[in-house]
């Protein structure tokens, strides 16, 4: 039982990271990005391509994290510039159509380029199945690395938002764009940074799960649902909530797929989500709608 919960927490950290990216985009520009899972898929393929080109077969993909971050940030900035920027602050609902459309475009675009076959990166057996045991509990190496990497990124976001000028500008823009602008903040740049970082977090999550999952064009769908659930569960627009939401979903998924079957984990995730929303309609850390 403890073993299963630990497994869930480890992978849950990755879900948290995806949800944190989603929350960041939502917090700053009031947009739910329905293509977040597809951005993760892009991150997986970027990892796949870079691995094929530059990494000796069998070695770990982790040092690709730097190029993946850079490529994903630029990709996110581009996606924002050509599409998302046109709907920010314009209408309450047009972003839904836009980001859903974008998710299909990415999915089928990548299918055209890479085909719909399942791919994987040829990491060594020792990495893939390696583990360390502490106090009778087995920590799979890949999951452990994913956990700490996701944790470091999440801590980085918290630091960025709480203690840097661009972080303050992001929070200011989120609360009141007009006031932020009058203080000298360029909202366009804030939006690009927020979307770029949201994309980086999705892409890095993609890299972290490549040793664990197969790579295929529609892999994003699963992660979109998970990230969306984690974000709602934690309370929309709340970074801490998204983190804990991701962990909870990791644990629920691990428990249900271990004690029942893998196929039912989605049902249980949604069940937990519904239960929490019944008792806390704005999510675990949500503050609800602020009046005035």
């Amino acid at each position: 039982m403890i073993q299963v919960i630990i497994n869930g927490l480890l992978i849950g950290a990755v879900y948290s990271l995806i949800a944190v990216g989603l929350t960041m985009i939502h917090g700053v520009m009031k947009i739910v990005n329905f293509a977040q899972g597809e951005l993760l898929m892009v991150g997986m393929y970027v990892t796949y391509v870079l691995y094929g080109a530059f990494v000796a077969e069998g070695s770990a993909p982790y040092f690709l994290i730097v190029p993946v971050c850079i490529i994903m940030f630029l990709f996110g900035a581009l996606v924002f510039k050509v599409s998302v920027s046109h709907v920010v602050g314009k209408s309450e609902t047009s972003y839904i159509i836009l980001t859903i459309g974008m998710s299909y475009l990415l999915r089928y675009g990548f299918q055209m380029i890479f085909g719909s076959n399942y791919q994987s990166i040829p990491v060594s057996e020792s990495l893939k199945f390696g583990s360390i045991t502490i106090g009778g509990i087995v920590f799979t190496t890949t999951r452990l690395i994913a956990f700490f990497a996701a944790l470091i990124f999440t801590i980085f976001v918290n630091y960025l938002l709480s203690s840097t000028d661009i972080g303050r500008a992001m929070r200011a823009t989120s609360e009141n764009k007009t006031v932020a602008t009058s203080l000298g903040v360029n909202a366009k740049i804030v939006y690009i940074v927020a979307f770029g970082l949201g994309t980086v977090f999705a892409g890095v999550s993609g890299l972290l799960v490549t040793p664990l999952y197969m790579i295929y064009p529609s892999v994003g769908a699963v992660f979109s649902t998970i990230a969306m659930s984690a974000m709602v569960l934690g309370g929309l627009g709340n970074i801490k909530g998204a983190m804990i939401g991701g962990m909870i979903i990791g644990v629920v998924e691990a428990l249900s797929s271990t004690y029942l079957t893998t196929n039912v984990s989605q049902i249980f995730i949604n069940l937990v989500l519904i239960l929490i929303l019944i008792f806390k309609p704005y999510g675990l850390f949500g503050k609800g709608v602020r009046i005035a």
């Binding site: 000028d165 303050r168 500008a169 929070r171 200011a172 609360e175 009141n176 007009t178 006031v179 932020a180 602008t181 009058s182 203080l183 000298g184 903040v185 360029n186 909202a187």
Partner: protein, 236 residues
Amino acid sequence: MNMLKMDKVCAGYGDLKVLFDISLEINEGEVVALVGSNGAGKTTLLRTISGEVIPTSGSIKWLGMELTKLPENKRAVNGIAHIPQGRGILASLSIKDNLLLGTYTKRTKPRRAELLENALQMFPILKERLNFPAGSLSGGQQQMLAIARAMMMAPKLLILDEPSLGLAPVVVDDVYRILDVMKRQGSSMLVIEQNLTKALSISDRGYVLETGHMQMTGPSKELLNNKDIQKAYLGI
């Protein structure tokens, strides 16, 4: 030499015309009051300066530069600080973060520590609560925070939209005492008020706006003693 010069500015919201041929000047070191009743267009006039509303005609010159063509966020770096109606504090951010955002631009960032110290010296209440959310402050304290944040911007011109709105009379006096200190330190200000006596008592010159038209202008003392104004605004 005037810092700000509005010349025959017309503006509105879509089809709604609010301002008609507005001309207004502010000289360096001067405190100017803009008064007028509800819905006269005072806030709209400020929004044409802050770039939120773009004039349909006319020009606004700031130190010789055409303001209407300047991106909205470039006011701060050019020395214009605007405290909007309703104070414009960022309630979910801490008091400290609100203050630090006053030095967001490269013009004031290098002086951040010094400006923060000055602001906190002037407003000791804020010092005790630096890490509390700004939304936890009372209305009067929020107005102090808004002024403190504007001071952090080391502005050449400070624009205030109804600083006394919704405050208890004692607190209004506090706010005006601070504005008076700033005036004596040489700050240029444009103060908007419905409260005519307050605004004209602190200012050197005044403008009276009525339904989008500039009705009258002159030294504040003269406006205060003007029979028509007394009748229309003070009910004397």
